[in-house]
């Protein structure tokens, strides 16, 4: 079996349970003072890398967690290491420079291509989308830039020799593809349960020994200047607004009431 050097890109985002608010100037969503967490799809990526190691043993040589973000993204990378990543690389962004705020997927993909080359990775496992920007592009862009095969929205990942067999979520069901390594895989929700199952019985990464161990694992820090990549923004944000609020229409007290109200509304 091909030995694997896995890169897991991670994004620090507003926690999925928080309702985001648009700022007063309508230029962005407010992030200061808001609870931030690892993008949920990225948790799946880390967990899957760790499970690949558990299933395939020594074949997984290295699990590198990567993030490009503010200094605090270091916390997110520590979590990734507590979950089982071997080491971490943080590209610390300068939030005072407009071109470094919210890197666009194309820029992130270009950055990741350099990381893959420098670190000699042959597999990238990343989330299918980040829950802030919801673009769902980075993995596919990276695969294109590297000329690697890709398997998106993975529900099952199996390494067989020099190939990876992936069951993908597609519209209307699932599809199985066989991708030659090196490859990019993007994770979908059904892939695994980083939170343990049932939820109460096991939390792989939250155990104290794991957190202590993660503190000793190496984390390298770099800046964008360490990479020869063009980070010009291609999209200008004109405005960010909250969607028009929907007003609840009140309650009825019986099935008959429900049917007659739906008829009034022309829905049935």
């Amino acid at each position: 079996m091909t030995s694997l050097r896995i890169l897991v890109p991670i994004k620090r985002v507003i926690d999925y349970a928080i309702k985001p608010r648009v700022n007063a100037t309508k230029t962005a969503v407010m992030t200061s003072g808001v609870k931030m967490s690892m993008n949920p799809f990225d948790e799946l990526s880390i967990e899957e890398s760790v499970r690949l190691r558990e299933r395939n043993g020594d074949a997984v040589q290295d699990i590198l967690a990567f993030s490009a973000g503010p200094a605090k993204a270091a916390d997110t990378l520590r979590t990734a290491m507590a979950m089982g990543a071997d080491r971490a690389l943080l590209v610390e962004l300068d939030e005072k420079r407009p071109e470094e705020i919210d890197l666009e997927p194309l820029a992130v993909a270009k950055l990741l291509r350099e990381v893959v080359r420098q670190e000699g990775c042959n597999m990238v496992i990343c989330g299918k989308q980040s829950i802030d920007d919801d673009s769902g592009q980075t993995g596919q862009m990276l695969a294109g830039l590297l000329g690697w095969g890709q398997a998106t929205q993975a529900a099952k990942v199996e390494v067989q020799g020099s190939e990876v067999v992936v069951t993908k979520e597609v519209d209307g069901g699932e599809e199985v593809v066989r991708v030659k390594l090196p490859a990019v895989v993007t994770t979908d929700l059904r892939l695994n349960e980083p939170w343990g199952f049932p939820i109460s019985c096991q939390r792989r990464y939250a155990t104290l020994p794991n957190i202590m161990k993660a503190k000793k694992k190496p984390m390298e820090k770099k800046t964008l200047a360490d990479f020869n990549v063009e980070f010009r923004k291609r999209l200008e944000t004109v405005e960010v607004v909250e969607p028009p609020p929907r007003q609840g229409g009140g309650k009825v007290d019986s099935v008959d009431g429900l049917i007659s109200r739906l008829k009034e509304l022309g829905a049935i």
């Binding site: 999925y16 309702k19 985001p20 969503v29 071109e99 666009e104 997927p105 194309l106 829950i131 802030d132 919801d134 769902g136 592009q137 596919q140 862009m141 294109g144 830039l145 095969g149 398997a151 998106t152 929205q153 979520e169 597609v170 519209d171 209307g172 069901g173 699932e174 599809e175 199985v176 593809v177 066989r178 929700l189 059904r190 200047a225 291609r234 999209l235 944000t237 004109v238 405005e239 960010v240 607004v241 909250e242 969607p243 929907r246 609840g248 229409g249 009140g250 309650k251 009825v252 007290d253 019986s254 099935v255 008959d256 009431g257 429900l258 049917i259 109200r261 739906l262 829905a267 049935i268």
Partner: protein, 353 residues
């Protein structure tokens, strides 16, 4: 030390360089505007254009330039005649090569890239479907373009509206790329209709037939006589409140049939194994906007609302009067769904007779 200084200077100069560059490019644009022309990527299956592709043609028409449609794979030549009748389409190009049958991005993206370059298209539109999400970002990277995903409105040739943060914010963005690559949310644009006129049909000018390192193995699609979830005019959706798969399978299909609706599910219901993942509605599943959305036993988490809050009429049945779903529902019934759903199903069936 020298490197540091050079870097610092580069970064200081960068904004000026950028503004200079954009001034030059906008002036060039005024002098010799590149004629607008749009390529619409359509999907087809079993000899028919897929439902999610019809809104793509409508979105493409928003740019105002001529629309070319691209179809690929075996049978694409035959499907071209259907595409040629769609309102606003000027030309259909097809790549009748069975290498494209399974929509594998490793060879499909190069096909797109070469035809976009050859056709000198300024705009490229595809659906934000599993196919579009898989292939278009790869093509965008190969063309060095920042794609705009899941667009819900096209304001002008450069300006796009798209939901972010699970639909909790709506961003308007202006693209500075020379080619605009956009995936659209199907429910935000009306499906293009067939007209009596017919566009020209030609073989695609380029077929790079790139080597594909990925092999398609198999697929397992949920077959259903019910309307397609993504485009159904009515959707009934079940959540954790149904308690188990037996209840889901016992209560939801008869209700869906009584309404002529598609069946959906919340993420909680999918995670608990009540329903197949392809039925999941929400930020991480499908986005629907039917005439009627009936949520049964769904609390209404942010993640779920992202997938259905643009529905015309939302109805909710939930035994918890404080469930957040009632804040968005046009009509809510606080009741035990194990009694309410069978009663509703029966009364709808009686009423339909």
């Amino acid at each position: 030390m020298c490197i540091c200084v050079a870097l610092a200077r580069a970064s200081v100069l960068q904004p000026f360089r950028q503004s200079a560059r954009s001034a030059v490019s906008s002036r060039l644009f005024l002098l010799s505007p590149r004629p607008l022309s749009t390529l619409a990527i359509l999907e087809h299956r079993e000899g028919r254009i897929s439902a999610q592709s019809f809104p793509v043609v409508t979105a493409a028409s928003k740019f105002g330039g001529p629309i070319t449609v691209l179809l690929a794979g075996s049978g694409s030549k035959e499907v071209s005649t259907q595409a040629a009748k769609l309102n606003g389409v000027e030309k259909v190009i097809y790549a009748s090569n069975n290498a494209y049958d399974k929509g594998l991005p490793e060879n499909f993206a190069p096909l797109l890239v070469e035809n976009i370059k050859k056709g000198n298209f300024t705009h490229v539109v595809g659906a934000h479907s599993a196919f579009g999400k898989n292939i278009l970002p790869r093509a965008s990277a190969l063309l060095d373009v920042q794609q705009i995903s899941d667009c819900i409105e096209i304001k002008d040739e450069n300006t796009f509206v798209r939901p972010i943060y699970a639909g909790n914010a709506i961003a308007t963005v202006r693209s500075t790329d020379t080619i605009k690559i956009v995936t659209i949310r199907g429910t935000a644009f009306s499906p293009a209709e067939e007209t009596s006129s017919s566009a020209t049909v030609e073989e695609a000018p380029v077929d790079p037939d790139a080597e594909c390192t990925t092999a398609w193995v198999s697929e397992n699609l949920t077959r259903s006589e019910r309307p397609d979830l993504g485009t159904a005019p009515k959707v009934v959706s079940g959540g954790r409140g149904l308690k188990d798969k037996e209840n889901f399978d016992r209560l939801m299909p008869p209700l869906a049939d009584a309404l002529g609706a598609a069946i959906g599910a919340s993420r909680a219901a999918v995670d608990a194994g009540f329903a197949d993942n392809s039925l999941q509605i929400g930020q991480t599943g499908k986005v629907v906007a039917p005439q009627l959305y009936l949520a049964a036993g769904i609390s209404g988490a942010i993640q779920h609302l992202a997938g259905m809050k643009d529905s015309k009429v939302i109805a909710a049945i939930n035994k918890d009067p404080d469930a957040p779903i009632f804040q968005v529902a046009d009509v809510g019934l606080v009741a035990d769904l194990f009694q309410a759903i069978p009663e509703l199903t029966e009364k709808l069936n009686t009423g339909n007779k």
